[in-house]
Amino acid sequence: MPSICFYFQVHQPYRLKEYSFFDIGTDHYYFDDAKNREVLDKVSEKCYLPTNRLMLELIEKHQGKFKISYSISGVALEQFEAWRPDVLQSFIELANTGCVEFIAETYYHSLAYIFSKDEFQKQIEQHRQLIKKYFKQDPKVFRNTELQYNNELAKFIEDMGYDAIICEGVDRLLQDRSPNSIYKAPNTNRIKSLLKNYRLSDDIAFRFSDRNWSEWPLTAETYAKWVHAVAGHGETINLFMDYETFGEHQWAQSGIFEFLRYMPGHVLKHPDFTFKTVSETAAAYPIRDTYDAHQLISWADTERDLSAWLGNPMQDESIAKIYALEKDIYQSNDKELIDAWKKMLTSDHYYYMTTKFWADGDVHKYFSPYESPYDAYIYFMNAMSDLSNQLKKKAQPRLKKK
């Protein structure tokens, strides 16, 4: 009885404004509210609202047979609450159907696992509280930022009490094995690793509207046929993708919504096939093999590694320096400073600094709000400089009192 496990990533960062060197010391607000709101509005109209509406319809239509999972970052939820409560409400409605599961992640969609385990745990807890508050669920499955994953992380998450963890099914680690079973890391006991089937996921997320693709235009029937072909040699097909695939990356005109509307029905025509949430998937199948990831992997680019966020001197310097403020930030006990600092941990800031597009692809360029990676870095460093000055100022008077 093979099943399909759909998981969608929903995330929006707090983009920094074009914070100039000349703003340091005079302007203590670093985020571009206007821009962030504009992006949120645009994506809400093009993707979140219409897709949520469709998901709700599909759930009602298939009477419990269509199930999905979401991972929504804390910073995205915060922005929904502030600016688009209608979107938040539509997610709550989905949660109320009982066919939707919410996944744990770091509140700030951060790289904290690499730089501070302490902060990493704090952010997961902060995110858990928020999911409980809005959706009345206690997540059992964890997903790290952009599917960053290795053996050590799997163990860490197991020790935190989670049942399963989500990761990319990387060819070089699978070595001809299928991603369509449950795996585990070699160093863990019971936590299950769910591997993304990147071929079938990317057929929707990346290739759907590509007119040079031999399968274009992809119909729901054809896709269901590919899915059905797994019968007999696989248990779960993990389709993980950005939620913005629907309506934002793949425009409505591409037919993506029609595809989504009819695909579940075609898949369910085969009596052996079902849809499961992440927890149900983990519970339904036993561990079949080990998946040995020593190095950190991710779902990004062709390398499936961390090179989009780390590695160039700007990324390495800015992230090292922001984490170096961790102790002082918490000691300041200043809610606003802590909040600003945490929002600056969001991985997108470092992604905007990538210089990889000089060699490969315009993907990063499209996703960056800045003119160049240098600008992304300069604004970040300026803002951090102001943050750090503020911290120093707060610390000094206290010393004097002593």
Binding site: Q315, Y377, I378
Partner: protein
């Protein structure tokens, strides 16, 4: 395999005088072309001991009186003075009437005067237009006796003889555009030189601008046919690094080039003022001379920045290398820069570079910091960031190093050969 082609080239500044200028570019290209074609290079003056291996250099100054008499036994009827004098009031639509008379007189004087051996001291000063006409008269007469497959002319000073020869022989004409009157003088540059450039572009079989940026200028401001245009970026020769100790405290931010409107020196001064407000230890060097030099000195004095600003005047190659050896940030805020070889020279010294978007070199130095020249605030921020932020410096320098690998004269020469082939393929 095509037969080895005979290329008749016209150059002006030879041997090179100005760093990063026309002479450097022509020389670099010539050297790299030697293995690929037979190049005969016609230049105003040659100096003893200046030779390029496998290139035939003909300095007009070396054609003696006797040889001239021989050449001019039967002089051709030159097309341009005729067109200019007989067919109406102007050489082209933009040559002003007063200017037309003035230019006509020069043509008249040259073509009705005695032929004497060509002499020129300063290639860019004095009555350049008259020298250009004299150069055309003698070189056309000389070249009609030689054999060539293609004519290749570098910038407007050499366009007259190249056009005449194209008309006379029907051989293909390739214009190499290192700089246009539009770059030098801006939107209101329409004059005789501009007209000459426009006519040459209309007549040419191919136009090789030194960047896509310049190619666009040829199309938009000269009406050149886009399908004739095949941009070829310049190369650069490897340098032996000069080592020098910094004579002053603080970070050194440099500008070098002609101090003229085209190069945007005032943006440099305005950005410097903003930088100095927050980093008073920074020092600025403006190397070069030009008509805006005095106004710039006056402006920095008026701002009270005299002790932070160093004006060096014109620098030769050796002095320039010394400057590059001690510089921390390089700025090229050119309003319009066809290529900008000097930015590549700074890259060779591992200096972070801030260049204007309106420059050809911005097309090859992907990793440079790029500015709109009018955005002085951003310009100042980039200078500050280049000084303060190690990660930025490292990233800019390493990206530039990567770009440098493909900025070679060999690549340039290969592409120029491709341009010739595209003409012969058509025939």
């Amino acid at each position: 395999m095509l037969a080895r082609k005979k290329v008749l080239m016209f150059g002006w500044e030879f041997p090179p005088v100005i760093s990063g200028g026309l002479g450097v570019a022509t020389l670099g290209l010539c050297k790299a072309m030697a293995p690929l074609a037979d190049v005969k290079m016609i230049i105003p003056k040659n100096v003893p001991d200046f030779n390029i291996p496998n290139i035939e250099l003909v300095g007009l100054n070396s054609i003696g009186r006797k040889e001239l008499e021989e050449l001019f036994k039967k002089e051709i009827h030159y097309s341009f003075p005729e067109m200019s004098v007989k067919k109406g009031p102007s050489f082209g639509p933009y040559t002003r009437i007063a200017e037309t008379e003035y230019i006509d007189k020069k043509f008249y004087d040259v073509f009705h005067g005695e032929v004497h051996p060509f002499e020129i001291d300063d290639l860019y000063a004095g009555d350049v237009i008259k020298k250009v006409i004299e150069f055309a008269r003698i070189s056309v007469q000389y070249c009609l006796r030689t054999k060539f497959d293609v004519i290749h002319a570098h910038d407007w000073m050499t366009f007259l003889p190249a056009m005449e020869l194209k008309i006379r022989t029907g051989k293909p004409l390739v214009l190499h555009v290192h700089s246009t009157e539009f770059d030098r003088a801006g939107e209101h540059s329409k004059n005789w030189v501009w007209d000459l450039e426009k006519r040459a572009m209309a007549l040419a079989d191919r136009i090789i601008p030194v960047s896509r940026y310049t190619g666009d200028i040829c199309v938009q401001h000269y009406g050149a046919e886009p399908n004739k245009i095949m941009p070829v970026h310049n190369g650069i020769e490897a340098v032996k690094h000069t080592v020098k100790k910094k004579p002053v405290e603080g970070n050194l931010v440099i500008f070098f080039g002609r101090v003229t409107m085209q190069k945007g020196p005032e943006y440099f001064v305005e950005a410097a003022k903003k930088v100095l407000a927050v980093h008073p230890d920074t020092k600025f060097v403006m190397a070069g001379s030009g008509d805006l030099l005095r106004p710039m000195i006056e402006r920095t004095a008026a701002y009270g920045l005299g002790d932070k600003f160093f004006f060096t005047g014109f620098l030769n190659k050796k002095m320039l290398n010394e400057l590059l050896a001690i510089a921390d940030v390089y700025c090229m805020p050119s309003v319009s820069e066809p290529f900008g070889l000097s930015a590549v020279e700074a890259v060779q010294y591992g200096i972070p570079t801030i260049i204007s978007k309106t420059s050809g070199v911005a097309e090859v130095l992907n990793g440079s910091l790029k500015i709109d020249v009018w955005d002085v605030n951003k310009f100042a921020q980039y200078i500050i960031a280049s000084i303060d932020l190690k990660g930025l410096r490292k990233s800019v320098v390493s990206a530039n190093d990567e770009s440098l690998k493909s900025i070679t004269w060999e690549n340039c020469a290969q592409k120029v050969m491709g341009v010739y082939e595209s003409i012969f393929d058509e025939e």
